[in-house]
Amino acid sequence: MQVLEVQHLQKTYRSSRKHLTTAVRDVSFAIAQQEVLAFLGPNGAGKTTTIKMIAGLILPDRGEVKINGLNPHREAQALRSLGAVLEGNRNLYWRLTPIENLEYFGVLRGLSQKVARQRGRDLLERFELSHKRRAPVQTLSRGMQQKLAIAVALIHEPQLLLLDEPTLGLDVEATQTVKRLIREIASEGRAILLTTHQLDIAEELSDRVAIINQGAIVAEESTEELIRRFSGSAYVVELEQEIDRDRVSKIQNLGAIVNEKTILIRETEILYEVLHILQPLPLIRVEKEQANLTEVFLQLIQNQSESPC
């Protein structure tokens, strides 16, 4: 069952009389329950615009958003299944305490005050903020504020959670905590759309990645598969010491590339022959070359700028 369906979204901004910016071009994707989709792209790629169109905060020129089958631009009911933490904002009242924020936003999302308070307490407990229950938000650290903002977005138990750059501006420790929370929230069965320009975040958190560049999705598939597809079949062998000339020439004859202490083997079949030649030199590692999302990302973005649209 798809929680979120986005079809052919398109948005062009008119920033001045002549100047038009097409921020989002023909973007389509879907997210199912319990799934984390990372929306990955450089600054200005159109991530925030897409998220805000989903939340009903920006009107698309074309295309459609369906949250549990409802259009947030026409049916306010759709907003009941949506929680959002938007970019760069605190999304909280600075003068109120965490519990007061949770209570207020709970009612704003349609809960009764009693339910909002109870859930607020539970969330504070879970997010390890109970000790700050009575401190004004203003006095909390940036990391705690972000945790609280996520808690507030969850107060009405929405099926879809939108997180725009959730770890932006957080220190290492807070980033770890927020990452852990996101994983937990997804495992509860919620669908999460998170945007980021940080590859490691996308790689660690997402089940699927959609890479967006200049407003268009250039790749969308499961995170693992994307990495596998871009990983070569080559092996790398690294030794403790430099290889003697005799062995180097033998190995080169087989078709492998030798560079001081490392050997790159493109044809998998010769791997054991090479190892045989190397015997009994001490090895440091034998590894299948793994692409990470960074390389995939660079490659895709590069391909795109080479072939202008």
């Binding site: 939340a55 760069g88 109120l96 209570e103 207020y104």
Partner: protein, 257 residues
């Protein structure tokens, strides 16, 4: 709806008293103003609406002025504050819809302001031993005026949404407000009388003058017209706000940018 209203009252109240120095400062200013009025300094603190020369009328006029100004700039102020705090978008993704949230909040704010002023007045009255008297029917035309004021508040809020910076316009609005609340349309005749009925809030303000200054009984047909006027301006303001909301979402300029 009621639970949202109560939540708004609570939120506003907490925000108001969280930093006691600020709250006390605000209360002190209001108290000083009204105390000044009691002592006979009728020129105190700029404009008020003259509802007669008796102290009772002066106080009621001043209170009306304070409350209507408060209502008028409430929605635009909320928009601006929320954008600064970074919570504006959260209000717009409420399933209640932005107009309802803003109206509920504006009513909650007005109620707090009203209770605050009334309490201060009661304290001053008990201190000075000078008790004001005004007819309870006053509340009826007051409702008409406040209704129109909310309509205008939505209209000014729409401008704030569309133009973002409206600081410079606020002075003009205040001037127009003074005109609308003081122009004696109840003494106009003929076609200008019709015009007077079309102006926002003036019919209600005229009724307040009748009751307060001239000690006339409430003119019921006139009251009906005042309510109709208030209702229409309220509807117009709301419609304008809905349009401005949609247009701002089209431009992608809600909140930041």
């Amino acid at each position: 709806m009621l639970k949202l209203f109560l939540a708004e009252v609570k939120r506003s109240w907490i925000q108001f008293i969280r930093y006691p120095a600020e709250a006390i400062g605000g209360i002190f200013i209001i108290s000083a103003l009204f105390y000044g009025l009691f002592l006979g300094a009728t020129y105190v603190a700029g404009p008020s609406i003259k509802l007669g020369d008796r102290l009772d009328s002066i106080i009621v006029g001043y209170m009306l002025w304070t409350l209507v100004t408060f209502v008028l700039f409430d929605i635009a102020g909320t928009l601006q504050n929320e954008a600064q705090t970074g919570t504006l978008e959260q209000l717009f993704i409420s399933p209640f819809g932005a107009p309802r949230v803003f109206l509920t909040r504006a009513i909650a704010n007005l109620m707090i302001q009203f209770i605050l002023i009334t309490t201060i007045l009661l304290i001053i009255m008990s201190l000075t031993g000078r008790w004001l008297s005004f007819p309870p029917t006053l509340i009826l035309p007051l409702i008409a005026v406040i209704l129109g004021a909310y309509g205008l508040s939505f209209a000014i809020g729409s401008l704030a949404l569309l133009l973002k910076r409206i600081q410079q316009l606020l002075g003009i609005f205040q001037f127009a407000l003074l005109f609308l609340l003081t122009v004696p349309t109840e003494t106009w005749t003929g076609s200008s009388k019709v015009l007077g009925l079309l102006l926002p809030m003036t019919t209600g303000a005229g009724l307040l003058r009748d009751v307060m200054a001239r000690q006339q009984p409430l003119n019921l047909p006139q009251l009906g017209l005042a309510w109709l006027n208030g209702g229409i301006y309220f509807g117009l303001g709301l419609t304008l706000f809905r349009f401005a909301e949609r247009e701002t979402k089209r431009r992608g300029r809600l909140g930041g940018y």
